[in-house]
């Protein structure tokens, strides 16, 4: 029997299928200040956050629409006092709940309460395999040690653990050690995710960008560990865009698989979509999730392949990478509808090459602009 199980490909580009996942940014509050954070620079305030009743309605609408997995994220979702209540509600709807957390602010009691509420999975971030560097990246003294304790509680509670490590210049030399740390912490899955340059990550691009040689060495090291740890830990490897030949299929294609809801209720196809000028994003108060998903102009703006310019339009990869990332096209060319410049065939590819050279040109160490509320 070959290929008994395949990754779910829900629909062709012509028919709009239901979303599989909902990323719920419950809050933008976060104790950490990671300089690669994908949240917008204009972080939403506590006073603007949706209340418990509205979030419950959003999750009910999501389940009815066909969403299967809810990713409870932020900011730091633990900052929401109603987190257990929201997990109970999602579980009652049959939604698969994934807590995406820094672990800061968690106690063993609260974790056990989340587990009993029906939480399905925990994704815990680590910033590095060495404490001093990890705490410097997070902008939070003691974060690394705290996360070790949190991981132990997750395992003790019987919850499956994924460790997420974002890779950049300051920790790329320890990419392999982060896989080993994840194994030691008892994780069944680890994400080794090279930094994507959106939000705060875009602001800090010069400080975060690795050199080409160190990026290639880290990729090779992690790929070797994939074989070494097969059956022990699953490695999901997000390779660095700017050093690639072809763009990533960002979000699996615009408005094709998942949607985001921000703390104040704005419904987006991805984290950075709000940076694109000319698109109007509705909130969960304006319309139902289903109406926004299927009918709103913003969700249909880059759906499928009809919007594509050349060279995407006639490219045989157009249903593989869906033209790459609209927000990246915007950030690098000023026009969201151009081909993602990561692609070697894109007319603006030279712009990516120029940025990817930052490190190799021996630029001085650039200080981080830490994530913070205005």
């Amino acid at each position: 029997m070959n290929k008994p199980v395949t990754d779910h490909a829900p629909q062709s580009s012509t028919k709009i299928g239901a979303p599989l996942g909902l990323l719920a940014e419950l809050t933008h509050r976060c104790p950490l200040a990671c300089p690669y954070c994908s949240n917008p620079l204009d972080l939403e305030k506590v006073a603007d956050e949706l209340d418990t009743a509205v979030w419950k309605r959003v999750f009910s609408e999501a389940a009815a629409l066909g969403v299967l997995q809810v990713h409870l994220s932020g900011g730091e979702p633990l900052a929401r006092r109603d987190l257990v209540e929201l997990v109970v509600h999602c579980a009652s709807l049959g939604l698969y709940t994934n807590l995406i957390t820094s672990g800061i602010g968690l106690t063993r009691e609260r974790l056990n309460a989340l587990s009993e509420a029906g939480l399905d999975h925990v994704q815990l971030s680590i910033q590095d395999a060495e404490a001093a560097s990890a705490d410097r990246i997070a902008g939070y003294e003691g974060a690394f040690a705290r996360k070790q304790a949190v991981a132990a509680w997750v395992i003790e509670a019987g919850l499956p653990l994924t460790v997420n490590a974002v890779i950049h210049h300051a920790n790329i030399i320890r990419a392999g050690r982060m896989v080993e740390l994840a194994v030691a912490l008892g994780a069944r899955r680890v994400e080794i995710a090279h930094t994507q340059y959106y939000g705060w990550g875009l602001v800090n691009r010069e400080a975060l960008m690795p050199g080409k040689a160190e990026a290639e060495a880290a990729i090779a090291e992690v790929e070797a560990l994939r074989k070494h740890y097969a059956g022990t830990i699953v490695i999901d490897h997000v390779i660095p865009d700017y050093h690639a030949r072809y763009p990533k299929a960002c979000m699996g294609g615009w408005a094709r698989r998942t949607l985001n809801v921000t703390p104040s209720g704005k419904v987006l196809p991805c984290h950075a979509a709000e940076t694109i000028p000319g698109l109007t994003f509705l909130t969960v108060r304006d319309a139902s999730l289903a109406d926004i998903w299927f009918n709103s102009p913003a969700f249909n703006a880059f759906r499928g392949t009809d919007w594509m310019p050349e060279p995407c339009r006639s490219c045989d990869r157009k249903e593989i990478d869906f033209g790459g990332c609209r927000c990246q096209a915007l950030a690098l060319t000023g026009d969201a509808s151009r081909a993602d410049p990561v692609c070697v065939n894109a007319p603006d590819h030279e712009k990516v090459v120029a940025v990817a050279r930052f490190r190799d040109e021996g630029k001085d160490e650039t200080p981080y602009v830490y994530r913070q509320m205005k």
């Binding site: 629409l65 299967l68 019987g158 919850l159 059956g231 699953v234």
Partner: protein, 95 residues
């Protein structure tokens, strides 16, 4: 790819917490939900996974499927072992 875990007739495959088989009403299909993954098993994989209840061992699963589909147990066993090995390597099933 992946390591071949030794599968005995008495091995009891278990879906760990965080992995579940669900019939999705919206799409009218069986899907396997796992950490940050939704996968669509093929029809024979669905029948095998329905029987991975944490109680039945490999021998019992093979026998039950052979009866259900009036099929050669040797062929069923080959499919079962292939699926269990694949999902164990992806940590979606514990053996």
């Amino acid at each position: 790819m992946g390591v071949e875990t030794k599968i005995e007739p008495t091995t009891i495959p278990r879906m760990p917490r965080g992995v579940r088989l669900k019939h999705d009403e919206t799409r009218d299909e069986w899907l396997l939900l796992a950490p940050e993954r939704v996968v669509k098993p093929n029809p024979s994989a669905i029948e095998i996974l329905k029987r991975c209840d944490g109680k039945a061992n490999v021998s019992e699963i093979v026998q039950a499927l052979a009866e259900q589909f009036s099929a050669d147990p040797a062929l069923i066993e080959r499919d079962v072992r292939a699926l269990l090995n694949e999902l164990a390597a992806k940590r979606m099933l514990d053996l």
